[in-house]
């Protein structure tokens, strides 16, 4: 039995808040929430005594979670810092609640369901009941369980079969009320042979807690390009878990970008469950000051002839702390699997630090798997070479840092996102002086 990390007052407060929550009209949803809350009641929030949380102390989040959950959203004072994405379908959430005002769903082609999860649960009960909570495992951590226990606000995107959606789907979560807890819940479902591009964007201009859970189903032959940008305020705390399940010949291309937050933890769990499924998972983690960014990815190959490639890079400045854990798991039935995991880390200052752990766990015999990890500083010989050509120290650093980010930056297909990442890189370059 795991020892409870919440003190009883926190748990009681959460229980009161949970009981007082606005109940759904759907009995199945209430049941799902209740089951999750029961699990949370016995697990609590994770502690550093747990192997998976060894380097990431979430005590501050646990302490403030209930209190900040009581915070009522204030009228938004400034226009939220959203990305200007051409031609996108936009679902905007302000302080955790769906905002029709900032959303833009006019371009939604027929057949596609996109909107606020809570509303859709009432409109399409059958569809959602079939999918919601099926991939997320409340036993994975207290954060997942408590998110499910309150699951209501968030985005749902359901694509029918054979739908090739050109416009990117932009899901933005912006917090502007100080000391608020938001618990976005997302559900993405691609029908057979469908194609879509989705961006989850989290930002804030205040101290806030975000605890998000995303469930992604990729139907047979479908292809999802998924981005996540975590660009929260330095006093904000962010945790998120994504579960993705791939059927036969489905492809998922994920890019996770961490720029902000005082503490951020992201967990991506991919399951390649159909023959021929393929995943490309990329991550670019940037942190300066005293930020803490923890990123983990688990790719589970459960079907034959599946392949995955994971490329994660981090750039840490000042006294930032990074944690990376990459795990490839090949089950016995997943013969002829190919998987490759690389993790490269660039430390710009001697105060920056990273704990990295790539892991392979293989139960099949006919597989091709590789993993590797490197950590280093900017190469001095390269620096001098560029400087000897007339570039000043800052220019030389910028070029080498950008080169390190490499295709993780240049491959981003959404221009506004690429520009944001680019400017974050520049801030990282300039923000700190040798």
């Amino acid at each position: 039995m795991t020892k409870l990390s919440n003190n009883p007052t926190e748990l009681n407060e959460l229980k009161a808040l949970w009981q007082a929550r606005e109940q759904s009209n759907s009995a199945w949803l209430n049941q799902l929430q209740k089951h999750a809350f029961d699990i949370f009641s016995s697990s609590g929030f994770p502690t550093t005594r747990m192997e998976d949380w060894k380097y990431t102390d979430t005590r501050n989040i646990a302490t403030n979670y209930p209190q900040w959950l009581k915070t009522q959203p204030q009228t938004i004072a400034h226009t939220p810092a959203l990305l200007d994405i051409d031609n996108s379908i936009h679902l905007a959430f302000i302080d955790g609640h769906y905002s029709p005002e900032y959303s833009g769903t006019k371009q939604l082609p027929p057949g596609i369901i996109a909107g606020n999860l809570g509303d859709l649960a009432d409109c399409y009960p059958g569809l959602l009941q079939e999918k919601l909570g099926k991939l997320a495992n409340n036993n994975d951590s207290g954060f997942v369980a408590i998110n499910t226990a309150f699951a209501c606000d968030g985005a749902a995107l359901l694509l029918p079969d054979n739908q090739d959606l050109e416009q990117p789907i932009y899901l933005s979560f912006f917090s502007s009320t100080p000391e608020i807890t938001i618990q976005p819940r997302l559900l993405i479902n691609l029908g057979v042979n469908s194609r879509a591009t989705v961006l989850e964007h989290y930002s804030s201009n205040v101290a806030a807690i975000t605890n998000a859970v995303t469930e992604i189903n990729c139907g047979k032959g479908s292809e999802l390009t998924w981005y996540k940008l975590q660009d929260e305020h330095i006093d904000a705390w962010h945790t998120a878990v994504q579960y993705a399940h791939l059927d036969q010949d489905a492809t998922i291309k994920t890019t996770q970008i961490d720029i902000g937050a005082g503490l951020a933890r992201n967990e991506l769990r991919l399951t390649l469950a159909g023959r021929g499924a393929h995943a490309e998972a990329k991550g670019l983690l940037m942190a300066d000051a005293q930020r803490h960014v923890d990123s983990r990815i688990t790719v589970e190959h459960t079907a034959p002839e599946t392949s995955s490639r994971e490329r994660y890079r981090s750039i840490l400045a000042d006294c930032a702390r990074g944690v990376f854990n990459g795990r490839i798991l090949v089950q016995a039935e997943a013969q002829k699997t190919a998987a490759e995991l690389t993790n490269k880390n660039l430390l710009l200052n001697s105060g920056a630090e990273i704990n990295t752990k790539p892991e392979l766990e293989i139960y099949a015999d006919d597989v091709k798997c590789a993993h590797g990890s490197t950590t280093g500083q900017l190469d001095e010989t390269s620096m001098f070479y560029l400087i000897s050509r007339g570039l000043n120290i800052d220019e030389a650093r910028n070029i080498l840092i950008r080169a390190f980010a490499g295709e993780l930056l240049t491959d981003i297909s959404i221009e506004a996102l690429r520009n944001r990442v680019q400017s974050a890189l520049e801030e990282l370059e300039h923000g700190h002086v040798k």
Binding site: D379, Y385, I387, S388, R389, I393, A403
Partner: protein, 251 residues
């Protein structure tokens, strides 16, 4: 006179490598420096380019009327110094052309000029690449990334041709070049020389000097220039090696 080195002493990790070196180079002159392995040739080259690991403990270096030692490495480059490295580094993810454009613009910025026009730049770079018989595919590849030894050296001279320095220090640019490449590289250097660029040519082989006729040849040993002469000195060294000269210098 373009550069005047007077009583230069240089230490690396507290060990003195250059021990009182004097050398004066006029505008458009080519000076060859030869000398045994480990005698300090590359140390001299790196020091002049401003590498931070090389400590100048005594002496002066005057360059185009300025105190060179007062300038940081990037300022020296913008003032017109170019170092062709003995071992050019590979920088993946930074294309040759991107680096050159940044380097040219850094010069223009320092001179208060606007950034170079993209079309103009491409035309100029392609012209120089053709001169160096450098395939255009090398322009977009990472700096020296996966280049053969000879290609790297050729790329150094190509960069020199683009950056048009006042003073080029070429550290064993001839090693690893085949005969044809040697001619191409020599041709590139000679063109710069015609444009009044002065050259310090570090080499182990007299052969290079058949293609680039030096005005002076110096022998560097033990951190000092122990003998200077004209191009015939190189022939003499080729025939007799360094023993005689080293012995004479000791006596």
């Amino acid at each position: 006179m373009l550069i005047k080195i007077n009583n230069l002493h240089v230490s690396v990790n507290e060990t003195e490598i250059i021990k009182g070196l004097n050398l004066t180079i006029g505008e458009g002159e080519v000076h060859a420096i030869m000398g045994p392995n480990g005698s300090g040739k590359s140390t001299l080259a790196q020091t002049l380019a401003g590498h931070p690991n090389y400590d100048v403990t005594a002496g002066t270096v005057e360059f185009a009327g300025q105190n060179l030692l007062d300038l940081a490495a990037d300022e020296r480059a913008r003032a017109g110094i170019f170092l062709g490295f003995q071992y050019p580094v590979e920088i993946s993810g930074v294309s040759n052309i991107y680096m050159l454009k940044a380097a040219l613009n850094a010069r223009r910025k320092a001179a208060g000029k606007p950034e170079i026009d993209a079309v103009e730049f491409m035309r100029f770079v392609k012209e120089k690449a053709a001169l160096m018989k450098l395939d255009q595919k090398f322009l977009t590849r990472g700096v020296n990334e996966g280049f053969s030894g000879g290609e790297k050296k050729r790329n150094e001279i190509f960069q020199m041709a683009v950056l048009e320095p006042k003073f080029a220090i070429l550290d064993e640019t001839d090693s690893g070049l085949d005969i044809d490449a040697l001619k191409v590289v020599a041709n590139g250097v000679n063109q710069q020389r015609d444009d009044k660029c002065s050259v310090l040519l570090i080499t182990h082989y007299q052969r290079l000097l058949d293609y680039i006729q030096p005005d002076f040849v110096h022998v560097l040993a033990n951190g000092q220039i122990i003998r200077s002469g004209d191009k015939d000195l190189a022939l003499e060294l080729e025939a007799n090696g360094y023993d005689e000269i080293l012995a004479a210098a000791k006596a």
